[in-house]
Subunit: 216 residues, 2 copies
């Protein structure tokens, strides 16, 4: 398999964690989103949405969108599972995942930050403030949903890590990248730290990727 | 079941279509997002993310996030299916769904439009332009992915409607609400019209909901 990746991409971070949990390896192909390499024709042929991650399997099929890739890997390689088996539990985990993947993260991807600056003349400070507002709203939603539900365990859903934890970790990491903190969200913080103590999560961290600049 | 809904919510539109395809009914509970009723304490108790849809099942369990709800309904009520059975096909359908649910729609929900106007001082025209940019990017991605793949049939994936079609229809409808057109995206247009000829899609349309104002 090949994984089109960029160190700073929180969506690719999610796929890297899932692959580590599954014990899978993929050849990394680096796409520098900050230099606009996602718009190069050779990558647009792989993913017309011009976004990483894109996973190419051994048959040459291309998979895109982090949660779709993670659910694919979970169906192809069921052990250890990343979703529970009961429909209500699966719905809970998927809804927790979407707090990051739908409600928050799309608002601070490079193309959106670029538009805010170039078209709406937002200052750098306003763009950072924008990202932090949606990250904070997501942290609030996580905290309320996780702290009020008996289904929460050592991890978001029970006592083994899965899709919701992967998304929560990328969410908290994104917030940290923008200078935010998760200290005000104790359940989020507890689960984040539980996850990051696991090498399968921590070695997938953006700052530990070969294409990360030495300065980070 | 109860469905917390708002006529103009594209995410609730998706759930209504899925329920129609499954032959399921839910008592509608109207939450006027334009009047800010999603922030009322009685709704925040249901969904701390303050967003519709929220589906309450007969056991009182609350389900949120449109795709999580739709996959839950598909698992609980498997016929007719909304996703294919093979992992690669399921991943394709889920990725197509995320073009709307992650990449585009979250950028033009009420809270985001409000922030653009109040905090970034964007004009009404700039806010409409903003929404249309992300809708257009999504239409371009759909068109390229659908027109270049033999798995596309009468619908997004084969010849029966499913999750990807539900999302595409809500995407195209959202674009139309902002004065956009899908005429430049022939595959999207063909599938949209195929869907809307089906009463299970068309009767879920925002403009046909009891809480829609007569003027629309």
């Amino acid at each position: 398999m090949q994984l089109f990746t960029f160190w700073r991409s929180m969506a690719t971070f999610r796929v890297r964690i899932a692959m580590n949990i599954k014990g899978l390896e993929a050849e990394p192909i680096y796409v520098d989103l900050l230099k606009g390499h996602q718009a190069r024709p050779e990558f647009r042929d792989v993913n017309p949405s011009m976004a990483v991650p894109a996973l190419v399997d051994d048959d040459g099929r291309v998979f895109t969108q982090s949660t779709a890739i993670i659910e694919y890997l979970d169906e192809r390689y069921p052990s250890p599972p990343l979703l529970p088996t009961d429909p209500a539990g699966r719905a809970r985990v998927r809804a927790l995942a979407q707090i990051t993947v739908a409600d928050s993260h799309p608002l601070s991807v490079p193309r959106v930050r670029k538009y805010l600056g170039q078209e709406l003349h937002a200052s750098e400070q306003q763009i950072v403030g924008w990202a932090r507002v949606w990250q904070s709203a997501g942290l609030d939603a996580y905290e309320k949903l996780l702290s009020s539900d008996a289904a929460t365990g050592a991890f978001c859903h029970g006592d083994t890590p899965g899709l919701a934890d992967i998304c929560l970790v990328s969410h908290a990491t994104g917030a940290q990248f923008y200078g935010g903190t998760i200290d005000g969200h104790p359940t989020v913080k507890r689960i984040f730290e539980q996850c990051m103590a696991d090498e399968r999560f921590s070695k997938a961290h953006p700052k530990r990727q070969p294409d990360a600049p030495p300065s980070v």
